[in-house]
């Protein structure tokens, strides 16, 4: 395998940049450019980086396989931040034989070398991608292998159920204390419910991981763009252009407390042309489709749009009112111009998704691949329950095994002789 290298800190300005190398040539390459090379591993040593056009003070540390992040020999340079220095380091090392790492390649090698199971590795990626506190904690959960532990727990329950079924099938003449089909159904149902709860938390988890998508809709001149500005405020986070449509669409985000609010299709909110006004209805429908919640901005007494998404009616320009009418449950009076009640609106959105009520434990299932595996497992168990009524035990075991395998896909393990071991551990069998 090649020796890979990558910048581990974000591109751009910063005081320190970390360049990481992994592979059997790492030490050789590092020794060629850094002096004096540390004489023992896990020891950060100050020295000089000799690059092509200049040298620079830096620190270097090396790790010996298998006691490193990837399980291979590794070297890290901690050098001055800025594209200049780190770029030169990369260039030099590549010239000496290193290869630019692909996305996630360090984690992949860690997985291959048994340093991580799949969901740990994904946890790290999620941590890196985390843009909000919640997502950070979800990533942390994965890293601590909470998902692995939860699924292994459920898998163990399935193993017990399977062992009972298999014992019944392979030892029909023994008087084993084996559950009847009805009892097996009950146990399967409880596993089904556990998977279901896991999935429900996933829904919230997804929002929390990726952020809550918010559409701002309303007629022209109700103040949508000023509302947007007020919501984004000084804390405008990421602006991402979504390509692929003829009209410009934008997604702008802001972090509120520990969760990310993504405002969708914001480009359209800024237009004031009549032409674009006419396209407004279509755009509105599109935005609403993408949203998790819709802010319908109205002024005065206007009727609101009808849709089945969660809705908050934002009555703007409250500064113009002398007396504030009573707020209904899903409405709020604000003044985008003066910033009145903008924080309250954000809190309202936050509360709607009960983000505050989420505990650390709820943030276990946030990764799309994991959600898929759990859903498959859930489907298989549902089929097993159905099969228990409509077919025979041998079909039921097929579905239970499928569920077991799907869960195994989360951590990267597969079935082994566990079931058979369990049978003999539990039951007194034999001629």
């Amino acid at each position: 395998m090649s020796t890979i290298i990558a910048l581990s800190t974000p591109v751009g300005r910063g005081a320190i940049a970390v360049v990481r190398m992994s592979g059997s040539d790492s030490k050789k390459i590092a020794k060629a450019i850094f002096e004096p090379f540390p004489d023992k591993p896990n020891f950060l040593k100050v020295g000089t980086l000799a690059l092509d056009s200049f040298s620079d003070r830096a620190m270097c540390v090396y790790f010996d396989a298998p006691r490193s992040y990837t399980g291979e020999d590794m070297v890290e340079f901690h050098c001055h931040g800025g594209v200049g220095v780190s770029g030169e380091v990369l260039k030099k090392c590549i010239a000496l034989g290193a290869v630019m790492a692909q996305n996630g390649e360090f984690s992949k090698r860690a997985f291959i070398n048994g340093k991580q199971n799949l969901s740990n590795a994904e946890g790290i990626i999620q941590l890196i991608d985390a843009e909000s506190g919640m997502a950070l904690r979800a990533g942390e959960n994965l890293l601590e292998n909470k998902l692995g532990k939860t699924t292994v727990n459920i898998q163990n329950k399935l193993t017990e159920i399977l062992a009972e079924c298999e014992a019944a099938l392979d030892y029909p003449e023994e008087d084993l204390e084996i559950s009847t089909l009805n009892e097996i159904k009950k146990k399967l149902t409880s596993t089904y419910n556990e998977l279901n709860s896991l999935l429900l938390s996933a829904e919230t988890g997804r929002l929390v991981s990726g952020g809550i998508n918010i559409a701002i809709v309303g007629k022209s001149n109700v103040g949508k763009s000023s509302l947007l500005n007020a919501l984004l405020g000084e804390n405008r986070a990421i602006v991402s252009a979504i390509a692929g449509t003829t009209r410009d669409t934008l997604r702008e985000s802001v972090i509120y407390k520990d969760v990310k609010f993504n405002f969708v299709d914001t480009a359209g909110l800024r237009a004031t042309d009549d032409e674009i006004e006419n396209l407004g209805i279509e755009r509105t429908r599109e935005s609403v489709k993408k949203a998790d919640i819709v802010l319908n901005v109205v002024d005065e007494d206007e009727k609101t749009i009808n849709n089945d998404k969660p809705l908050i009616i934002v009555r703007n320009k409250m500064d113009k009112l002398k007396v504030l009418p009573k707020e209904k449950e899903n409405e709020i009076f604000v003044s985008a111009l003066f910033g009145t009640n903008i924080d309250r609106l954000k809190q309202k959105i936050y509360d709607y998704f009960q983000v505050g009520a989420l505990s650390q434990d709820d943030l276990i299932l946030t990764n799309a691949r994991h959600i898929d595996c759990v859903e498959q497992a859930k489907r298989s168990i549902a089929q097993a329950i159905y099969a228990a009524d409509e077919t025979t035990l041998d079909c039921v075991t097929v579905d239970i095994s499928e569920a077991w395998q799907s869960l195994g896909l989360i951590t990267g393990t597969t079935a082994s002789e566990e079931i058979i071991d369990k049978i003999y551990e539990k039951f007194c069998l034999g001629k």
Partner: protein, 617 residues
Amino acid sequence: MIFNYDIIVIGAGHAGCEAALAAARLGAKTIMFATNLDTVAFCACNPSIGGTAKGQIVKEIDALGGQMGINTDKSLLQLRMLNRGKGPAVYSPRAQVDKYAYHANMKAVVENTANLDLRQGEATDIEIIDNGFRVTTGVGLSYDAKAVVICSGVYLNAKIIVGKWSQKVGPNGFSAATKLTDSLKKLGFTTRRFKTGTPARINGRSIDFDKMTRQQGEDEMPPFSYLHENVPSKIRDCFLTYSTLATKDIILKNKNLAPLFTGDIEGVGPRYCPSIEDKVVRFSDKEKHQVFLEPEGEGTNEYYVQGVSSSMPAEVQYQIFRSIDGLENCEIMRDAYAIEYDCIDATTLFPTLMSKDVNGLFFAGQINGTSGYEEAAGQGLVAGINAYRFINSLPPFILTRENSYIGVLIDDITTKPTEEPYRMMTSRAEHRLILRQDNADIRLTEIGREIGLVSDERYMKFLAKEKEINEIKKQMKVVYPPKKLQELFSDKNETQPKAGLTLADCLKRTNITIYDLQKHFGLFENASKQALEQIEIDTKYSGYIEKQQVQIRQANKLETKIIPPDIDYDKIQGLRIEARQKLKKIRPQNLGQAGRISGVSPADVQILIVYLMNKND
């Protein structure tokens, strides 16, 4: 004197007989040795053939042209189907046989088979010579052959143990084979000790059957062999009774006398065939254990006491057996005993059961660390066929996990080192729904025909059945309008169909059977029971069978990725240490087998895939 043969089979037990018959029937000049000719196809333990997963194996042996099914049908005392009510995929036929008739019937076939010689003699030495092997027997005669199949069962350095008494003798007092292990070691094989046990035999006249529950054979059971039409299934009965708290007490009080617990037994015993002392100690909160009394033969009073194998001292055995309900006054005719024996590590064998290190040397049966007559016979058949193909430079014959239980068995023992004697179970077969006792002929008859073991008679029968099934299948595809289906559906409490349905669709409904279709529409009147059963199972299971087919297709992908035999695992970076060790030891043939080795994770398989891909670039 030196005798010349094509193939030598050492051991005439269940494995040996299948191997020798297959080789001889294919045309090889074959000789089979037994330390005592009375051991030919001898049922040393349970006087029964079949059972869960084992019954399926017997059907497979029969479909391929082996002898076990035919011989069982000829020696029946009782025939039943296990697991009725748990689904056709796990139906398993089980027979009680007259063990003496079983032996005599098999011996007669062996004595009368062309190309096959049966000889009493202990093989004491195997030497590699030009073009093959020289086997020398105890009395000093030598036999040369191009291939040898070793089916020594539990006879290698066999030792019987009853309490403090032991004797270096084989099962039932037959002579042990005391020299062959050394010869194998000289050829580079390592052996280890396994153990098994057998219960006492009791005189039926001293059994109080009134205290027990009678267990009869089933009416109208299909025979084991596809060649036979009807067999008697209810000649003798078995009896069910229970051990008592007294049994438990006696064993616990005498624990210090049990060789199992004193360490006098060296070999590893099977978990699933524990002695009664083992059961009582491990599951100490169970008050009683099931005991079955099984008749050993028509010409004898002897009963086999299933569930009570033991190596306790003889005196203690009397106490134990007499504490069982109905056996208070029992006369023991033969003691229960434990037996230790040498066996090899089957992971040193190819899936053809030929040694990876010594060309032309095959191993089959309990010497490979398996247990059970059926498991042995299946291996014997495969080894015999491959010995013939080897000496004739024909491509090897390999059964797969997807087409037979025998395939699962051989793949398991050649891939995963077993720590204890291996017993086949349905849960070992991931494709259990397809590997059924009712379709062994559909799966394997053509294969057996290609090899040359399936006779014309068998083949014709098979073709006729296939034809019949295809005709019925055609009729099942006909669409019936809802009006015509009304009566049937209301009769069977099924919701009325809104559109027309094929008969196959109707059959998928839980409450409708193929006999209902027969009755309501007057179809398939002359169809055989077997054909109808086949269609019904296939149709009702089609959803689940399709699920398994998908899994088979996925598994097959990795099976076809051959690993070159000269691969150097030390050169592959990224393999975990344990995986590398196991891969080097077992030398899997393909990626599928590699993934099944314990200690080789999916990640390691990924690395192999990448490595092989890069090599091919």
